[in-house]
């Protein structure tokens, strides 16, 4: 690991200024991903700026509309245990609890969770080419080991997936990321916060160099008729990344007609994948087994599986259909 200077910021402006003074610096949250990547030689910062103790950033504040503003330094475990999150946005608590282990959730922060990097084995092995780690070196995963890689939105330059469970739920809930950078503060909605790899897979998000996530904002809580669910399929039952996952938020009228629905998929793309084609197919009528299957089909017929991950097409299809039926029951 390369030696690094360690700085602790007490407010966000100071953190941004510190990073501006040291271009090879990185913000440090819980360190569960960054420290590991430094140990692997994937990340080689000359300075770490600890942003876990920014004053007020470890709080979850309630807005007048019942929405929540989640500070970027809130630990994953505190987020999942918060009674307001569990009651109003259970899909978010479920997603967080389906990620990592108790020990890791105690360290990991909300901001860090959103900015964690792919677990593609080529990305984490510095002896291998990887366009995400070293742009222009190539993507061995395309023809190599890619059974857990993307089936949507990949490019010839990168077929990696985004590993976060939390981000999938936030995409279905329509959350907004607050960021502060040298040019000031701005807000970016999820999933638009993330980007597809295209010809620049080294960039996971729309954040500019030096920008810091300060909070994640959730709008007014869904009404009582809204049902939410996060389901995740893994190679083992617990403590593993998703082969595929789904976050679904379903608004039903008293007649059972779908007034609104938001579906996001995890483990299938470079970003949380909003299944907008499935959403369109569901609106305006009750959820039946046939309609749930048609909706899943409407999305998955656009999948572009690789040689060894076509199983994800059927997996994601069944996951969408089963989750819709469960929510509508």
């Amino acid at each position: 690991m390369r030696p690094f200077r360690f700085e602790r910021a007490t407010d966000a402006q100071q953190a941004v200024a510190l990073l501006g003074d040291a271009p090879d610096a990185r913000y440090l949250g819980g360190g569960t991903n960054l420290v590991d990547l430094m140990r692997l030689g994937v990340e080689t910062p000359g300075t770490l700026i600890d942003v876990t103790r920014l004053v007020g950033y470890d709080r979850i504040d309630e807005g007048d509309d019942g929405g929540l503003r989640i500070g970027a330094a809130v630990r994953n475990s505190d987020l999942a245990a918060d009674p307001r999150v569990r009651e109003r946005y259970p899909v978010l608590a479920e997603a967080v609890l389906h990620g990592a282990s108790g020990q890791l959730r105690n360290l990991a922060t909300v901001g860090g969770n959103l900015l964690q990097r792919t677990r593609c084995a080529y990305f984490t092995d510095v002896t291998k080419p990887c366009n995400k780690r070293a742009l222009g070196t190539g993507c061995p995963a395309r023809e190599g080991r890619h059974h857990n890689h993307a089936i949507f939105g990949h490019s010839e330059h990168c077929v990696a997936t985004h590993p976060s469970d939390m981000a999938v739920a936030l995409a279905a809930l329509g959350a907004t990321v607050h960021a502060l950078g040298p040019a000031g503060a701005r807000t970016i909605p999820i999933p638009g916060f993330y980007r597809l790899p295209e010809d620049a897979p080294h960039r996971d998000t729309l954040l500019e160099p030096g920008e810091l996530i300060t909070a994640v904002e959730l709008g007014p809580p869904p009404g009582r008729q809204t049902r939410q669910r996060y389901r995740k399929v893994r190679e083992r039952r617990s403590f593993a990344f998703a082969l595929a996952s789904v976050a679904a938020v379903l608004d039903l009228e008293s007649s059972g007609t779908v007034s609104d629905v938001r579906i996001a998929l995890g483990g299938v793309a470079h970003m949380p994948w909003r299944a907008t084609r499935a959403e369109v197919a569901l609106r305006g009528a009750p959820v039946t087994p046939e309609r749930a299957t048609e909706a899943a089909q409407a999305e998955l017929e656009y999948a572009q599986p690789l040689r060894d991950n076509s199983y994800k097409v059927e997996l994601a299809h069944n996951l969408i259909a089963a989750t819709l039926m469960e929510l509508a029951a």
Binding site: M1, R2, P3, F4, R5, F6, R8, L28, G30, G31, T32, V35, D36, M38, R39, L48, D50, T52, S77, A80, A81, P83, R86, E87, P90, A93, E94, L97, H98, A100, S101, G102, Q103, L104, N106, L107, S238, F239
Partner: protein, 211 residues
């Protein structure tokens, strides 16, 4: 460019975070760090930690994890280095009362914290109830993962007492007491691997200690 020496801040070698060399090998036992041309010198920082009830003030390489600080600087070798990537849980300790992977926790990032490792669980010769339960249930074979299992279980039971749900808690939104079933214990202990497969005894040991 000449090879230069700097005084070592402690009686032990500086850590690069992944070295398994026994003390003295990396520096020939001379008590000094050899700086090699082309390799950046370590950057040092002061940390103050309360570890198992004792105050410690140390000057360390900023790269030092809490795990390496415990094992290499203080000879507290209870917490184990299994994977050094946060995947096995053998390094689990309590940081300000919460269980965490010591391998991924930089010591400088936890300056001022209260640390409890497995050495701090017993009260003198009186073992912690979880330690007693592990012995009673024969909840280990080789024992390598046991210190992490114990610290993790201590933190986990506090989380249950605080009403934190898990991925298998039936009514996520409902507050109130959590029934600590075997499924709950298994899910909540998912970050502690046991390659001997002693889970069949670990789960009831934790259940007994919680009762």
């Amino acid at each position: 460019m000449p090879i230069t020496d700097i005084p070592r801040p402690l009686g032990k070698k500086l850590q690069d975070g992944r070295s398994f060399f026994p003390s003295g090998v990396a520096d020939g036992g001379a008590g000094r760090v050899r700086l090699v041309p082309g390799i950046e010198p370590p950057i040092l920082a002061d940390v103050r930690l309360r570890i198992n009830g004792t105050e410690h003030q140390l000057t360390i390489d900023t790269r030092t994890s809490l795990l390496d600080l415990l094992r290499e600087h203080l000879d507290l070798t209870g917490a184990k280095k299994g994977c050094d990537h946060g995947q096995c849980g053998a390094c689990t300790i309590l940081i300000d009362g919460r269980r965490a992977n010591a391998c991924l926790a930089l010591a400088v990032a936890h300056n001022g914290a209260e640390i409890v490792s497995v050495e701090g669980l017993a009260d003198g010769d009186i073992l912690h109830p979880l330690q007693r339960a592990f012995i009673e249930h024969d909840a280990f074979q080789c024992g390598y993962c046991t210190p992490g299992q114990l610290c993790s279980a201590v933190g986990m039971l506090d989380e249950v007492r605080d009403g934190w749900p898990s991925a298998v808690t039936p009514l996520l939104a409902a507050e109130g007491e959590i029934e600590l079933t075997a499924a709950e214990i298994r899910e909540r202990m998912n970050g502690n691997l046991c390659r001997c497969g002693a889970y069949a005894n670990i789960v009831p040991a934790i259940g007994d200690a919680a009762a």
